[in-house]
Amino acid sequence: GFLKRLELENFKSYKGFQVIGPFKRFTAIIGPNGAGKSNLMDAISFVLGEKTQHLRVRNLKDLIHGAPIGKPVASRAKVTAVYGEEGDEEGEGREEDIHFTRIIVGSGTEYRINGKIVSPSDYQHKLETLGILIKAKNFLVFQGAVESIAMKTPKERTHLFEEIS
């Protein structure tokens, strides 16, 4: 499978409802400094269950558009990742598509799969069946963090192998 597109609603610098995509097999996100490229990566990390400290904010509310200048535009922010199977790159709304959604509500978050609310552990479990393990940290590389992957201590490396086995 692969990530087909993202739907953001008032997430960080993405105001209102915006659809991002379609993503191909090899896609580049480009644009000037401060435009919102890393915020898009934060959106992907967020919807897959990443903790706030890796999203460059102190608490969940700061993820709502406008929060850093004290003027959040809404009380909620939402990200949906549409995940599909190979071959139907352009096929909209095929029945096999899975919609993973995470919503900021108040100071907590709500998880949904295909629109239905699920528990965080069911959500994580479904992602794990697709090979998406946030804990294994083997597929997200944040800005400025690539060199540190090679410079881990021997003990940290052992820990890495424990996570993936």
Binding site: Y14, F23, F26, I29, G34, K71, R157
Partner: protein, 167 residues
Amino acid sequence: RYDRFQDAFEHVSTIIDDIYKKLSNNTSAQAFLGPENAEEPYLEGISYNCIAPGKRFRPMDNLSGGEKTVAALALLFSIHSYQPAPFFVLDEIDAALDNTNINRVARYIMQETTTSFQCIVISLKEEFYCHTDALIGIYSEAGGECTVSRTLTHDLTQYPSTISAAS
């Protein structure tokens, strides 16, 4: 538990040398992972060493910035091959790379995305993103009090491949 660890370790340590050779585009490059305690690797640490093409064995902290990035990507892609997530998201991994290494890394990703994973990269360098299938351009709308991001999508697959032109 021990068996699974051993399994993961053996898989990654046999494949990493091959991936590092591919990323360096040079068969004399070498990479190896070694347990500090061969009997029970999960008890102690695991060391990692890379020998850049044309150089001898030296400690990892001796590598330059760009050499460390290539070593890191070799480890990342070999771990992935044991526990394959369907896609990668990589934010400006090309920052410390010179044009030769950018080209090598981009070609490696290009090949792998046709067979084994999807890749989303964030990059400022044309030498890197000219190898992709699609571009998502982010721009910020003028006028507001804070940044408002908008996107434009551009499908590159309709053009003749830049690779054959660039080779």
